[in-house]
C-alpha cells in the first residue's frame, strides 16, 4: 500500500491515507491517481478551482518526502507553478502529480494562501 501524509500550514491536524494506486481513479477530478484524486477520493478536501484541469494553482502542494516517486511534471504544470505563491523546488500541482508506486511514502504540505483569488 502507498501512503500519503498531508500536513497543513494552517495548523489543521495532519491526515494520513493508505491506498492502492492501482485502484485509481478514486473520483473524477484531476489525473487518475494524482494527489488530488487520492485526497478527494478519501474524503479530504483540497482546493481545485479549475476542476483539476491544470488551469490554476489552487491545488499547489509542497512535497516534503517522495518527490522522486511522483510522475514528472510537464510543461503546462511548470508554467502554472511559476505563478504560484510560495513556490519551492519541490512544489507540485496536486491535480497533476501522480503516485504510481504502490510502495511510495509521500508527505505533502498544503500552503496557507493562494493568490488566484482576488
Amino acid at each position: 500500500m502507498a501512503k500519503l501524509r498531508v500536513l497543513y500550514e494552517s495548523g489543521e491536524p495532519e491526515r494520513v491515507i493508505e491506498f492502492d494506486p492501482r485502484e485509481a481513479p478514486f473520483q473524477h477530478d484531476g489525473r487518475p491517481g494524482s494527489i488530488l484524486d487520492v485526497l478527494l477520493g478519501h474524503g479530504i478536501h483540497l482546493e481545485h478551482a479549475c476542476g483539476g484541469n491544470c488551469a490554476c494553482t489552487t491545488c499547489h502542494v509542497i512535497v516534503k518526502q517522495g518527490v522522486e516517486r511522483l510522475s514528472p511534471s510537464e510543461e503546462a504544470e511548470d508554467d502554472l507553478l511559476d505563478k504560484a505563491p510560495g513556490l519551492t523546488p519541490t512544489s507540485r500541482l496536486g491535480c497533476q502529480a501522480v503516485i504510481e508506486d504502490p510502495d511510495a511514502e509521500i508527505v505533502v504540505v498544503v500552503p496557507r494562501y493562494t493568490i488566484n483569488q482576488m
Binding site: G51, A55, C56, L80, M118
Partner: protein
C-alpha cells in the same frame, strides 16, 4: 475553503443552438480580464466543479459566461437547461491567464471556439489602455458562422487601426500560426495569448516556443 457566491441568471443569449451566453447578476465581483469562475453544479447527488471563463469586462455590472454543449458532458447540459432567474453558486475569480494593459510589443491573441471568452475582455482592456503596438486576433472556429461576437470584433477592427481580426478553420489553426509568426519572419519579440480546448493549445505553445519565442511571451490556457 473558497468563498462561495451566488449569481442569478438574468439573461440568456443564444449564439447557436448549442452555444449560449448566460449573464449572471451577483454582488459586485472584482476580477481581471481573462479570469474564470468555478460553477458549483448540483448534478447526480454531488457538486460538480465546472470552470467558465468570464467573457464580460470587469467594468460591467453582470458576469457573462459563454458555453457550448459538450457531447457526453454532464455540466454543460445542466447549465444550458437553466432558465432565466435560476441561481448558480460559484467561487472565484480564479486564474493567472490575465492581461491588464496593452503589452509593450505586438500582441497576438489566438482563440479556438468558445475559448474566445477570456480573450474578449483581454482585448477590450488592451484597446482601452492606449496600445502602441499592433494587436491581432486569430480566431478559429469550425466554420465562419460559428464565430462568436463577430460583429463586435469587426467593429473594433474598424475603429482601432492597431487592431486586426482574422478567422481560420480550426483544423488549419496550427499551420496558420506557423505560417504567420514562425515562417514569415525572424521577429521573436511578439507576445501571445492563446486559449482553446484540448491538444491544440500545447501544440501552438510548442510551435512558438521551439521557434524561439520566450517562454513567458507565450501565455496560454487549455480547457
Amino acid at each position: 475553503m473558497a468563498l462561495e457566491r451566488e449569481g442569478r441568471i438574468i439573461r440568456i443569449v443564444e449564439h447557436a443552438p448549442d452555444t449560449r451566453s448566460l449573464f449572471l447578476r451577483s454582488e459586485r465581483l472584482p476580477y481581471r480580464p481573462g479570469q474564470f469562475i468555478s460553477c458549483l453544479l448540483p448534478v447526480g447527488g454531488e457538486t460538480l466543479i465546472r470552470p467558465y471563463s468570464l467573457a464580460s469586462d470587469p467594468e460591467e455590472a453582470d458576469l457573462e459566461i459563454c458555453l457550448n454543449l459538450v457531447p457526453g458532458g454532464v455540466g454543460s447540459p445542466y447549465l444550458l437547461a437553466l432558465p432565466v432567474g435560476a441561481p448558480i453558486r460559484f467561487t472565484g475569480p480564479w486564474g493567472t491567464f490575465v492581461l491588464e494593459r496593452a503589452p509593450e510589443a505586438e500582441t497576438i491573441f489566438i482563440a479556438d471556439g468558445t475559448a474566445i471568452a477570456p480573450i474578449r475582455p483581454m482585448l477590450h482592456r488592451a484597446l482601452a489602455t492606449a496600445p502602441r503596438h499592433p494587436l491581432r486576433l486569430l480566431y478559429a472556429a469550425e466554420s465562419e458562422r460559428r464565430l462568436l461576437y463577430r460583429a463586435e470584433l469587426e467593429r473594433l477592427a474598424r475603429e482601432h487601426p492597431l487592431f486586426s481580426f482574422d478567422h481560420v478553420a480550426s483544423r488549419a489553426l496550427r499551420d496558420e500560426v506557423a505560417r504567420r509568426w514562425v515562417d514569415a519572419d525572424a521577429d521573436r519579440s511578439r507576445r501571445f495569448f492563446i486559449c482553446g480546448v484540448g491538444d491544440i493549445v500545447p501544440a501552438l505553445r510548442d510551435v512558438l516556443r521551439r521557434a524561439g519565442y520566450e517562454r513567458r511571451a507565450v501565455q496560454y490556457e487549455k480547457w
